[in-house]
Point group: C2
Chain length 364, copies 2
């Protein structure tokens, strides 16, 4: 809890984002740069910024337009990128990360954004905001470039937990669908379960069970279950949401990122390999820039923690101002659409439905 008294000069109706200025690889500059980019585009947004107030204020002085849009809250402590989550949480009270979450808990802000240590942020978020009633394992959902009209698919869990049983996978499907409705504007998102083949009898037993549960819940959950999908469907347009356990999801995400980076590096090497190639690069700069924009990971920056009382967005640790601004845009969109409440309502109604089914089958 902070003791500042001058916190509430934001106009009623403004969307307030609580943001952790510390802990990212690119320092406070990237955060304030991201805030500036977002504020220029979106005058309805306000920020509570937590961290080293001397550094933050020094940067803000260069952008007078931000003064009324930003409330700076000093925090002495920073959670280090390489800290073990449990340690970070034990000594974390009063850190910029802790206070960023506290602003959401206290209702001052609708959504929290941090570039810091993922494991620490998740553990602290569970501790401060608590899991939604009936949620066993919260999940991290990310956007992945795809051939879909929105340009993205949603994948979860990307590593909040290393395990997921069938009931968890069903909850991921429901939460992912709610996210896609509110974050990507998809009315009835198509959900696929990640497996190593698309035949019904493929894969691990919990996947068979989850497939039946998701299929049975599709109308109540406002999603369309399309069956098993494979790794090759990550960037495909046959699915909007790809559901998997956090171990598989984390590996698939990092492998795909690594591959995209390898291809990008090879492309750069091909165009710098000789004088002729360098000249070709100048002439081809238009198409090359177009490609770069399309696969720029900064535009899909922001992992959303699902299953908590409140929305938390994990920005990539190495995000620059453009990346931070993308995470803020996502935060704004979700906050404006009342995502936290809608997600809580979805999870509650799914729980109620499953209890009804249980008691009905007990009666039968």
């Amino acid at each position: 809890m902070t003791t500042d008294e001058d916190r509430t000069n934001f106009p009623a109706g403004a969307v307030v984002v609580s943001i952790d200025a510390m802990g990212g690889d690119s320092g406070v500059e990237a955060i304030i740069g991201g805030i500036e980019l977002s504020a220029n585009i979106n005058p309805d947004i306000r920020f509570i910024v937590h961290g080293d107030s001397i550094k933050i204020n020094a940067l803000l002085q260069k952008s007078p337009a931000l003064i009324d849009m930003v409330d700076v809250r000093h925090a002495d402590k920073v959670v280090e990128m390489d800290a073990k989550p449990a340690q970070a949480v034990r000594g974390g009270k009063g850190s910029s990360m802790w206070n960023t979450l506290q602003s959401v808990k206290d209702g001052e802000a609708t959504v929290a954004v941090s570039c810091g240590n993922t494991g620490a942020l998740m553990m602290m978020a569970v501790l401060r905001l608590r899991k939604l009633p009936g949620v066993n394992r919260p999940a991290i959902a990310v956007l992945w470039p795809s051939r879909n009209p929105s340009g993205h698919n949603v994948m979860l869990d990307m590593g909040a937990d290393i395990k997921a049983d069938a009931a968890d996978l069903l909850q991921y499907a429901i939460m992912g669908a709610s996210y896609a409705r509110n974050g990507l504007g998809l009315e009835r998102p198509r959900v696929g379960l990640l497996n190593i083949g698309t035949e019904d009898n493929k894969g691990r037993p919990e996947l068979q069970e989850a497939a039946e549960m998701i299929e049975a819940s599709q109308n109540a959950s406002g999603l369309e279950y399309i069956g098993f999908v494979e790794g090759s469907d990550l960037p495909a347009d046959r699915v909007d949401i790809i559901v998997t356990d956090g171990f598989t999801g984390n590996v698939a995400l990092k492998a795909s990122e690594g591959t995209a980076k390898l291809v990008g590096d090879f492309l750069r090497e091909a165009f710098t390999h000789s004088t002729m190639a360098k000249m070709a690069a100048v002439i081809a700069s238009g198409p090359l820039k177009r490609l770069k924009n399309r696969i720029d990971p900064r535009h899909s920056n922001g992992g959303v923690f699902l299953g908590l009382n409140g929305t938390v967005i994990k920005s990539h640790g190495s995000a620059d101002a453009v990346g931070v601004s993308a995470a803020i845009k996502l935060a704004f969109t979700l906050a404006q659409n009342g995502f936290s409440e809608k997600l809580a309502a979805r999870v509650a109604s799914a729980n109620a439905a499953s209890k009804n089914t249980t008691s009905e089958s007990n009666e039968a």
Copy 2:
């Protein structure tokens, strides 16, 4: 067993590859085209080709140079690409796939190559060739483009089995190292275990246990254990062999392939998007071709089945002549290096070592 009598006119010392001409998406043409490409480069190679002898002979007549290098064996039956493995095996006797494996079993050929149904090929290979003594789960190893000097990393298991316990993962490490020594010429390959973080305490319990087992065996197995690696290390130069269970491996491989294809498609779209872009593509054709060559999946075609009495190579179902030729080159390299025998010896000595350890600890 075939009844042909005229099979042994191959010179002593020739490396004989048994190849399934049927079952691939690109038909017999791709197989004979691949044989021709390989035979042109490598006069020491000989082929036993199984399948529709009318089609095969018609194609061979156009390439008289091949006549002495190829022995055609007619097979009436073909295992379909979408057949369920168990069904394919039950009705598979006398199919081109079955006979391709039989030639290795009978000692006529050193290595088998097929573009057909992966699941059926693996099940049939286990049935015909049998697992090496002490191998619990055979694995499929693939080459993946990387920043390593050889241009590739080895990954396994890519989906022979959906599960792997710690002892299986140790065996994958030993078999993968033997493959890298004989296939890529690496004397002491670096092995990493795929996980969702590189800290020692990360991930599932079987990974902790496997890490200890691989570390303890590294000298006996002629490998260097470098610890946990992440999805982002798939194309990295800090590791030569990436060990994981078949579920995770299959997802990671297909996700990475899908991503590389997406980036390739975006690149093509960027260079065809306008008249200016099309002109730029002509001028940039050198660098673009260089890139295409480097990420061309045909050059790393060929999944090797490890843990059987004999070497089997699964070519991609959609491989064209260039892809088939790459799989044949891999088959030749492994056969020439006596890979089957060396792998069997490695596995046997690892089993003996583990039995010694067990009996020692029983005595202690």
